[in-house]
Symmetry: D2
Subunit: 340 residues, 4 copies
Amino acid sequence: MYSFKNDYSEGAHPKILKALIDSNLEQEDGYGEDRFSQIAVELIKKRLGRTDVDVHLLAGGTQTNLTAISAFLRPHEAAIAASSGHIYTHETGAIEATGHKVLAIDTEDGKLTPALILKVLDYHTDEHMVKPKLVYISNSTEIGTIYRKGELQELSDFCHEHNLILYMDGARLGSALCSEENDLGLSELAELVDAFYIGGTKNGALLGEALVICRDSLKEDFRFHIKQKGGMLAKGRILGIQFLELFRENLFFELADHANKMAGLLTAEFCKMNVRFLTQSTTNQIFPILSNSVIKELQKTYGFHIWEKIDPDHSAIRLVTSWATKEEAIREFIEDIKKY
Amino acid sequence: MYSFKNDYSEGAHPKILKALIDSNLEQEDGYGEDRFSQIAVELIKKRLGRTDVDVHLLAGGTQTNLTAISAFLRPHEAAIAASSGHIYTHETGAIEATGHKVLAIDTEDGKLTPALILKVLDYHTDEHMVKPKLVYISNSTEIGTIYRKGELQELSDFCHEHNLILYMDGARLGSALCSEENDLGLSELAELVDAFYIGGTKNGALLGEALVICRDSLKEDFRFHIKQKGGMLAKGRILGIQFLELFRENLFFELADHANKMAGLLTAEFCKMNVRFLTQSTTNQIFPILSNSVIKELQKTYGFHIWEKIDPDHSAIRLVTSWATKEEAIREFIEDIKKY
Amino acid sequence: MYSFKNDYSEGAHPKILKALIDSNLEQEDGYGEDRFSQIAVELIKKRLGRTDVDVHLLAGGTQTNLTAISAFLRPHEAAIAASSGHIYTHETGAIEATGHKVLAIDTEDGKLTPALILKVLDYHTDEHMVKPKLVYISNSTEIGTIYRKGELQELSDFCHEHNLILYMDGARLGSALCSEENDLGLSELAELVDAFYIGGTKNGALLGEALVICRDSLKEDFRFHIKQKGGMLAKGRILGIQFLELFRENLFFELADHANKMAGLLTAEFCKMNVRFLTQSTTNQIFPILSNSVIKELQKTYGFHIWEKIDPDHSAIRLVTSWATKEEAIREFIEDIKKY
Amino acid sequence: MYSFKNDYSEGAHPKILKALIDSNLEQEDGYGEDRFSQIAVELIKKRLGRTDVDVHLLAGGTQTNLTAISAFLRPHEAAIAASSGHIYTHETGAIEATGHKVLAIDTEDGKLTPALILKVLDYHTDEHMVKPKLVYISNSTEIGTIYRKGELQELSDFCHEHNLILYMDGARLGSALCSEENDLGLSELAELVDAFYIGGTKNGALLGEALVICRDSLKEDFRFHIKQKGGMLAKGRILGIQFLELFRENLFFELADHANKMAGLLTAEFCKMNVRFLTQSTTNQIFPILSNSVIKELQKTYGFHIWEKIDPDHSAIRLVTSWATKEEAIREFIEDIKKY
């Protein structure tokens, strides 16, 4: 049984494990004040070409989202998200649990646009309603699509014009930036969004996300919020060591690139077979639409999620590749699917 | 510079790292539903001699405390803690951030007693005040003391009589259970408290705490709370693998025992030198009272926290040992201190 | 300028004011423990034919909703509401501010049905999503429609079958119960829902809502929640006196009946003029669809809200009548509208 | 049985009731946007000699405290209060329920000083603890004492120097300002504190507190918070009408003055009898220390609270006078007490 269920089925990339082992007995301060974390933060800043951003290492994605969003908003302010957005559907009301409404917008492709956001703003006119304040986007999105530079520029301009905070969930940012249709540089992100995170968990780390706060007014006292929400690891070094390794050279991008390539092989093959897709993805999550009988056969040998019923006879499934996906596994899957 | 600052200065015990490496490329389900976590949970239950408890693996101590306490209480209910309790002073208001007051009691030794708790109950008489509902204790306490079985039995009886939830923060439970004055078995804990956690982070793991919920009424839907509060790791396997290793044989106790022994060496030596202590600790945190001039000298070569001013010329310092503390380091420290 | 903007444009019914004056200098205990409140509670219980319900008097509707819903739910549980529901759109995220997501369902007529709720339940399958637990309905709804007995019975059966709490916002319960199409008795309500409130503010009181808790498991410690959320008035007597007057004889129903009759006069007249309505209302809020030019003329002499654009030339307006609406004002309005 | 239990035993001053009646049938906008509220706000601003403050009318004291404090603070920030402070002991954890810790300081006289606050600041050094940010004081205090101008000036200077928000709970502000030892003008308050409220409920209104926000940075979007926390009355007019009447001429001060005078009569008489007091109060709450046998006798004819045991034979009782206290009742009480 080979799993395409997600991009966190395995542990960490061997280089990361090695870094953990090599540093294991060095004594370090706790709570992210170790040297490794400090170096990792510097490496990320360097990669962004910005010395004036704040970078914090947190344990997981939901943790990062809820800590950042609750720190950035006042009690009456709300987040806007696509209705497919992770904070809206798959975080057990984590944002609401910190007191904030999430206003959801239905989208075709999991992406927000100024026009979609404007409707929400227009609807919220007075103090009897929440005040929309933060725009939450994911890149890549939960359905594999990405924001191109021009789209993000438009969103950025719109948000700043309307005094909104633009926040990007980058759980799969590596995959987005390594997509063949991507034209956005990591260093450009810090210019366009007010805060974002660089996902480690889904790109080869054991755990860890690097939150980058670009807008000055959002930086103050942020470590208080990490601690209060339970996200400050005593051995913060394990986050530092991993991000150091990911950004020491190019590991972060190499791993994401591999994941995308593996998904690309699958996509190419499905296209040859005239299989349609639920979404147009060039990242590491793809959603082919297959007949239920084929799906049933595949389930005998492969692990994956059935995403959505399309018609009585067809469903979209989700196949996720990762840094750890072996090309042979892809080849075998393709061979198998040809049989049905 | 050798650090006695805390018990999380190094990474993980080599056996734990090895277990992470050995399992690294096995594919597993996420979010704690992997085989390793399931086995770890079973091992812990077995060690407790109880199949009817629920065990959840979480990333850190503050995370565990805030998730459990907010899940267990209704909005108007409060926790009672010693004023030295971790949730009262060192978690940035994490419990209050979930909506609950923490009622603090000053104590001599960091430990709560029925008499101390009764005063709080007597004071809270009606709906204009919060309703005290959960008793939070730490074992070992934040100042190194431990609860003996009889003391815990009395607390347990009192809590159940007064319909209070008894919750134990076990960040340093290993050290408590391995203390030479301890007469409490891990398996007895589940009979005496309603919930507690077994600390991994401060006893040789990279991260991780195992929350044990003993009272049936507290179990329902607990995974929702873990997810909502951001504590559910995508690669939950890394918690499972570590606790599996800690409880596969006796590693958990061996590591705690070592930490205690190292502290014991220091304590014995200080006693010979007629050094007084702030608290009577038989665990891995000791608080000798030294002259400020000696402290100043020690700071040149050793890392530790100055805990409390005693008089203009003396202060108590905190020395913490761990699974990783080397006996040579202890010997050297003792030699050094003799010089001053 | 005569206002049809809402049913709280005037003060209180003269009988209520008189009761306030007559009792003014009697000394009473505070916080709802006065004799008037106690009598009012007994009168309401009597009217419900139930001695086993708890009745609490609170200051306002949003206050009542947020206090009740946050008291009834655990942190991971969510409320389900129509997307037109007051808690979803017009309470500034008050429910979310207590930590709970509100799951909204689009409806034709502002009313929930088992089929609509079932879809929400089916979608929420595991701990990565909130757990739907409370069904919030309004009667009459925010768009003037009402629940008939059979509909409420079905909802009630469904909720109990699925272990959901059924909660009714009765800000305009008087108007619903006095509607000509209503077949539901106040006494039957307590059998069908788990909690509901009887709205005073919008039916002749200066302020005040009477929350009725029918399900035993929801009753415990409720006064703590009222106090904690700021809804316990020091001079709770003013709520008691008003509800006593509303339920001493039949004032509550007489006032609602008058409001409905006034709306009925308008409705009948609009029908004669072949004016269409946005919703089918037999209560004190009606939503005729008028041409924008007519609306413009009416705005010169009357106050009302424009509710929704229908097409480039037409809009639905909201006309609200109350216990204080004078029949002459209705007659004049009808004369005026005939002119355009 | 005559009650000295509190200053909210009766309804409203007759002038206030009359104003409610006179305006009863005028149609007004809801939610505090009525003309009465607007005039009341202007009158208060005029009395403060400040056009640049924001004034909001809310229903009650706990409501005002929790709305203001949660609006003013970020999630990791805490309030500092005397341990006798209302928010710390008698609001059922209302502030904590909005997510904020209240740091309590034991005091002799219920009053905070720079030295007391400094200790709290010094103790809170890093992100593992909450950040003290708002200083909560009550004037008069919960035990009848008041802040003199010089004391408040020192607090004000200290708070601004340390970037703290100074907030005054004025539930009994009238009594404080009318105390014979008072040297503080209402108009000076707005210079010295960042926000405060003028209590109506305990000074002759049916209900209502006027919150004054002086510091610009605290003003933004405040009405959102009132609505979200449930404190925005649909018939906001009833708050406006009452404050209009209280500040149209001098009713607010006349009523407070009367209450103080009545307490003064009691105090003078107790002094003649060499009765000691628990606190030195020149306001409308006094705390004479009486023998338990005398207390027992008094309880037969008078209502009051026993505040604190002093020794096995004596207790302090609390006697509260109000705008409604009749001089004859005081005279009778004095005669009665002389008997025992």
